[in-house]
């Protein structure tokens, strides 16, 4: 620990700190241009200069690079220091008069205007290296065309943070300084487009003046990382909170895009975390947990509307899925609750198409159960957010449930238009002037009896529910079956809706079939109850169709022993006979059929019983 005095106040601190860190922690504001908590100190802008009195000697030092020492006396705003800062601001303003950052600083320090003139050159000394045109500060001769790879254009205050970030932190080094003195500038090596730049955008984000154009560093558009939760309507960073309701509510790092995994550098997040909660060296762990019951609740996926190309998803920009519109109307979504078209205009008319990927021989035959209700909900919300004309195109209005149909009635009162008919296509081909620039929904209005064309600004596709893409893999894992639609098969639709054919494995939620939230919750409770019964009971009830050994007949040939998938057959060395553990036996009967001497029998499915059955079924014509 070290004791020092800053502006007359005594402060104790760790000896690794710099004077700047200590002063800032004590609430003293020292201006800086080239300092940043993620970067090692550089000491180039000189704004953080303070007066240091140590062992009788007074000197001016930059507080960002000066480590604290016992007995230091620091003055951060003395007359001498302020004079330095004022002149420094004026000098920088002469270089970049339009810079907001500098102007703010000038105002804070108390500099009314800049007394220096922009730097002029001597024409006779010009050797047309064009360095000046790149800085745009020294128009020595008629500026030639600015080379396209120059990075720090006018507005660059040469703080060097982008260079240090790219080099020291990101460990890429695509940017550097070139030139001496007034000709110093930020650029890529040889002023050529950098092949090392990974367009992470760190330089543009740290630049205090926005002087960096990423395209000049690497002339290709950076690939945005679309946010999965926002369905690509917004972008995210490699480190991100998956969604606001995530449990646990902590950010995650995506190793595919995180710079640390690419270059070993950055780790800005780790350095800034106050509680050291970030560990880039974390590895996947495979944990084995022994359980007695499993509840499969693996959910559903939405229908991909690209399979119904006649609705124009992915072709016309203003065709959205319902899930995307959910994000649009959400106040914490990518647009903050503003429902706009892709070009930012407010839609004046919106069409919601029901049964996209449901009740359809061409795609999915079943009814997805929830879409009518959520389409009505969206219609209501969209009416609130946009005052647009709303059109719902339905086949049947399926609103079972508490207050559901009443809600439908409310919408009718809100003057939402309901058109009964399956939409044939969405097109942008206008037949009349009113249809220009809009999306036209072609539908047979079955109640009115003719085909209609309804122009709207925005189309919302109410996509249905489908089994997850990996449903077949998951079901094999748990020894379950799937129904013909691909949802997991329950043991009995009425009598055992949450059980599967495998004891101890239960189903809950939309993985078993499309259902809404109240039903899912109820089913989940049922599955949990079934599971708990199994756990609580303390014993398991077994089917009686187990196999047993006829000891006298058994020859000890051991051919049954490897056959049992449950290892229920053991060999009694003493007796030299096979022995079946009835608790393990599941009653498949494979061993029964395989025994060469016929010494294994199965209860309920004895050979004699089967023979009788055969005789029985063949007793008539």
């Amino acid at each position: 620990m070290v004791k020092l005095v800053i502006n007359g106040k005594e402060i104790t601190t760790e000896k690794e700190n710099t004077v700047l860190e200590v002063a800032r922690a004590a609430g003293i504001d020292i201006p800086t241009l080239c300092s940043h908590e993620s970067l090692p100190p550089y000491g180039s802008c000189r704004f953080c200069i303070v007066e240091v009195n140590q062992r009788g000697r007074t000197r001016m030092q930059t507080s960002c690079t000066l480590p604290v020492a016992e007995g230091m006396e620091i003055k951060t705003h003395s007359e001498r220091v302020m004079k330095i800062r004022r002149i420094l601001v004026e000098l920088m303003l002469a270089r970049c008069p339009e810079s907001e950052v500098l102007r703010n600083m000038a105002r804070e320090i108390g500099v009314p205007h800049c007394r220096f003139e922009r730097v002029r050159g001597d024409k006779s000394l010009c050797h047309t290296c064009q360095a000046c045109t790149l800085v745009e500060q020294m128009p020595m001769h008629a500026p030639a065309e600015v080379p396209s790879t120059f990075v720090g254009r006018s507005g660059c205050i040469l703080c060097g943070m982008c260079v240090r970030l790219c080099d020291d932190v990101m460990k890429i080094g695509a940017l550097g300084f070139e030139g001496r003195g007034m000709r110093r500038r930020v650029t890529t090596p040889f002023r050529e487009p950098s092949e090392f730049c990974i367009t992470c955008g760190a330089c543009t984000s740290i630049c205090p003046t926005g002087a960096i154009e990423l395209l000049r560093v690497r002339p290709q558009e950076p690939l945005p990382i679309p946010s999965e939760f926002e369905l690509g309507l917004a972008n995210r960073k490699p480190i991100h909170l998956p969604f606001p309701q995530a449990v646990p509510r902590v950010p995650v790092i995506d190793p595919a895009t995180c710079v640390n995994f690419m270059t070993g550098g950055c780790k800005v997040c780790e350095d800034n975390c106050q509680v050291q909660a970030i560990d880039h060296t974390q590895q996947d762990r495979i944990q084995e947990v022994d359980v007695g019951t499993v509840i499969v609740a693996t959910g559903f996926k939405t229908f991909d509307p690209k399979r119904t190309p006649y609705y124009g998803y992915g072709v016309f920009p203003n065709v959205y899925t319902a899930l995307e519109v959910e994000r649009l109307v959400n106040a914490s979504g990518p647009t903050g609750g503003e429902v706009t078209l892709r070009d930012g205009r407010a839609p004046k008319s919106i069409g919601i198409i029901h049964c996209v990927g449901s009740r359809d021989n061409k795609t999915n035959r079943w009814c997805s159960r929830v879409c009518c209700m959520y389409s009505l909900k969206l219609a209501h919300l969209l009416k609130e957010h946009t005052e647009a004309e709303l059109y719902n195109f339905y086949i049947d209005m399926r609103t079972p449930g508490k207050s559901y149909d009443e809600f439908y009635g409310k919408l009718l009162e809100e003057r939402v238009h309901f058109i009964r008919g399956r939409v044939g296509e969405v097109t942008d081909w206008a037949m009349t002037p009113e249809e220009e620039g809009k999306l036209v929904i072609r539908v047979e209005d079955t109640l009115a009896g003719f085909v209609r064309r309804i122009p709207v600004d925005m189309v919302v596709l109410s996509t249905g529910l489908e089994p997850q893409a990996d449903a077949q893999e998951v079901r094999r894992l748990f020894n379950m079956s799937c129904g013909s639609e691909g949802f997991f098969l329950e043991r009995h639709p009425k009598l055992a809706p949450v059980n599967t054919f495998t004891d101890g494995v239960f189903l809950a939620g939309a993985c078993q079939g499309p259902r809404d939230i109240p039903d899912t919750v109820a089913q989940a409770g049922a599955a949990a109850a079934e599971a708990m019964v199994l756990i609580d009971k303390g014993y398991v009830e077994q089917e009686p169709n187990t196999a047993y050994i006829l000891e006298q007949e058994c020859s000890g040939c051991k051919s049954c022993i490897p056959l049992c998938p449950y290892t229920a057959i053991a060999f009694d060395e003493a007796k030299q006979k096979a022995v079946i553990n009835e608790a393990l036996c599941k009653g498949c009967g494979t061993c029964v059929a395989s025994c060469p001497s016929g010494s294994i029998a199965q209860r309920l499915f004895e050979d004699d019983e089967v023979f009788s059955e055969i005789k029985g079924v063949l007793a008539y014509e």
């Binding site: 100190p41 000491g43 180039s44 802008c45 000189r46 704004f47 200069i49 001016m60 030092q61 930059t62 690079t65 000066l66 480590p67 001498r80 004079k83 330095i84 002149i87 420094l88 000098l91 920088m92 002469a94 270089r95 007394r115 220096f116 003139e117 730097v119 002029r120 040469l158 060097g160 550097g176 300084f177 030139g179 001496r180 003195g181 007034m182 000709r183 110093r184």
Partner: protein
């Protein structure tokens, strides 16, 4: 060639064989081969001598030695004759033949080749007679007279590498450091940090490797003392570094030479090669168990690389930019290892101190270093005396010599009999001192007190025809070019100062500009990152302090008293005094003078470029300067 010597005994034996082959009484002609004299065709003179020797069958009877710089640069090419010690100046190749025929064969001294005293008009023959040499104390530089820089045998003959043997065999490393500290030797690069103290700090640090570095990046315009030392006596630098490596425990070293000194690089490389071949560099030097070897690094053309941290960055292969120095280089320098960096001249002092002892050294110079080496400035300093003096060249004087002694006694006074106006010490970062400082004893602390600095020893003398405003502007333009650009005050401030000075020189400034200039200069001095920036305002601050009336004349009266600032100068021919000799018209480069022969001439002001040539050539003082 020579085989590697593996013990000090072998070295002593080798030295004897070298001495045995030499006859100190044999006639020797030395031709100065320093860069300055080379530029005056000095090598042609040497070739002419060789040819003349051949023609007169003098090979084997008379030696010819091409030496390094002898310091008398104004009057080169310089030729000396031993053992008489005659000094011939401004010798041409044709003269060489004559010298051989007359002086060597007949013993006739050639009066016309002796230097003439400007006051007494007498011809001066030897170093003892020539005031330029008489008033110097060339303990270091004097060796150049006896050395062919390419011959290690020459160096051994005059006692070279005896200090190394003494240190390696009779002194512990601590003793060496102690001796250097007691001598009060302070860094000759300009900062004047006590060398022994630096070495002691470095020795204390534990590390897996230490470095010895020589700063030969002499960037000051007008300073060439380091160059001449390297070109004249490269082995003295090597010897000093090897001794230091022993004292500190380093085994690797670098000599950072600016690339603009190709001759120095060449001669240093040869010296290193020869030293290695003899076993004075490399593994197990002279069987003492100490190993040390050197490498030459060439600078890339940046003045700022003379700054220690920038120099190290350059050796490491990074851009030459300085860094904050709160971590000292003796603890973490090159590649984060303890490093001792010293100037060329500092290194050359080391063998002398080891051989002759610290007491001999403290007897020369100012102050009292018995308690601390900061207490005074000991030993000698080599200055590059240039500018408006009669004897420009390299002078070595004890610390404490006054400016008057250097400029007048040694330098021979102001050229053309003009008035002394000022002298800049310490290169472009040095301050400009005036008449009132002529009796200032030169040492580190006194110079800093008056706002200047010792620097690397550049001394530029100015006369009444130098405009201080323009002079300051010139150096600021130099520094503007050389600033690395990392820190705001230096990068922006130096340029702005230069611009302000230009405005003043153009007559477009107000008194407010003067105040702004003063403030700006102070800020640049206080806020810059490295010494380049910190000392950059010295020309401005000192001229403002000592020559303020000149600034005010520019601003208030719109006049440049020295007649340099073109915007404020005009030339006029006084028709009464002009007799129409057409001298001015014929010399005018712009063709701006009209007038027939024998008629009064007139200057056409629109065409006049203010060069001042008419003013210089008119013998009748008919051209007036405003």
């Amino acid at each position: 060639m020579a085989t590697r010597l593996t013990s000090c005994g072998e070295l002593a034996a080798y030295r004897k064989t070298v001495a045995a082959k030499r006859d100190p009484n044999r006639t020797c002609v030395t031709v100065c081969g320093g860069t300055g004299c080379r530029a005056c065709q000095g090598l042609d003179v040497a070739a002419a001598f060789r040819q003349a020797f051949q023609e007169h069958a003098l090979e084997g009877k008379v030696d010819l030695r091409v030496t390094g710089c002898l310091g008398f640069c104004e009057h080169g090419p310089v030729v000396t004759l031993r053992p008489k010690g005659l000094i011939y100046v401004k010798v041409t190749a044709a003269d060489a033949k004559e010298i051989v025929e007359k002086t060597l064969l007949k013993g006739e001294e050639m009066e016309r080749l002796f230097i003439k005293d400007p006051q007494t008009k007498k011809r001066l023959r030897t170093r003892e007679e020539i005031p330029f040499y008489k008033h110097q104390m060339p303990v270091i530089f004097g060796a150049n007279f006896d050395l062919d820089p390419q011959s290690i045998d020459d160096y051994l003959y005059v006692g070279g590498y005896t200090a190394l043997v003494k240190a390696l065999t009779t002194m512990t490393p601590e003793l060496v450091i102690d001796e250097v500290t007691k001598s009060g030797l302070r860094g000759r690069g300009g900062a004047g940090f006590p060398t022994g103290t630096k070495w002691a700090s470095c020795r204390k640090v534990e590390s897996n490797g230490k470095y010895i570095v020589c700063n030969a990046d002499e960037g000051d315009p007008g300073a060439y003392a380091n160059r001449s030392l390297m070109e004249g006596n490269p082995h003295s630098v090597l010897e000093g570094m090897i001794i230091a490596s022993y004292a500190i425990g380093a085994h690797e070293g670098f000599i950072y030479v600016r690339a603009e000194y190709p001759l120095a690089v060449e001669l240093l490389a040869k010296a290193i090669e020869d030293a290695r071949a003899l076993g004075l560099l490399g593994k197990n030097i002279l069987g003492t168990g100490h190993s040390f070897d050197l490498e030459i690094n060439r600078g890339g053309g940046a003045f700022v690389c003379g700054e220690s941290t920038a120099l190290m960055a350059s050796i490491e292969g990074r851009a030459g930019e300085p860094r904050a120095k709160h971590i000292h280089m003796v603890e973490r320098g090159l590649w984060d290892r303890p490093t001792v960096l010293n100037n060329v001249e500092t290194w050359s002092n080391i063998p002398l101190i080891v051989n002759r002892g610290s007491q001999w050294f403290t007897a020369i110079g100012t102050g009292d270093v018995s308690k601390t080496p900061w207490g005074g400035s000991k030993g000698t300093k080599i200055f590059s005396l240039v500018g408006k003096v009669n004897n420009t060249g390299l002078v070595e004087v004890p610390m404490g010599a006054t400016l008057r002694q250097i400029i007048y006694d040694i330098g021979g006074g102001i050229k053309g009999g003009k008035k002394f106006k000022g002298v800049q010490t310490g290169g472009p970062s040095g301050g400009i001192l005036g008449v009132q400082h002529l009796d200032l004893p030169i040492d580190y602390d006194q110079l800093v007190e008056v706002g200047s600095m010792m620097g690397s020893g550049g001394m530029i003398v100015m006369d009444e025809d130098t405009c201080m405003v323009d002079f300051a502007r010139y150096f600021l333009a130099f520094l503007e070019d050389e600033s690395c650009g990392k820190c705001t005050p230096c990068r922006e401030g130096v340029v702005q100062m230069r611009q302000l000075l230009e405005q003043i020189g153009a007559g477009k400034a107000t008194m407010a500009h003067l105040d702004l200039l003063q403030d700006l200069a102070e800020v640049v001095r206080d806020a810059s990152l490295c010494q380049l920036g910190v000392t950059a305002p010295n020309p401005v601050l000192t001229t403002l302090a000592y020559f303020r009336e000149e600034y005010e004349a520019h601003i208030r009266n719109g006049k440049c008293p020295a007649g340099v600032c073109k915007a404020l100068v005009s030339y006029l021919i006084d028709a009464e005094k002009c007799n129409g000799c057409t001298m001015c018209a014929r010399n005018c480069p712009s063709g701006a003078i009209e007038g027939d022969k024998k008629q009064p001439h007139k200057i056409v002001l629109e065409k006049c470029s203010k060069c001042g040539i008419c003013y210089e050539v008119c013998k009748f003082h008919a051209v007036a300067r405003n």
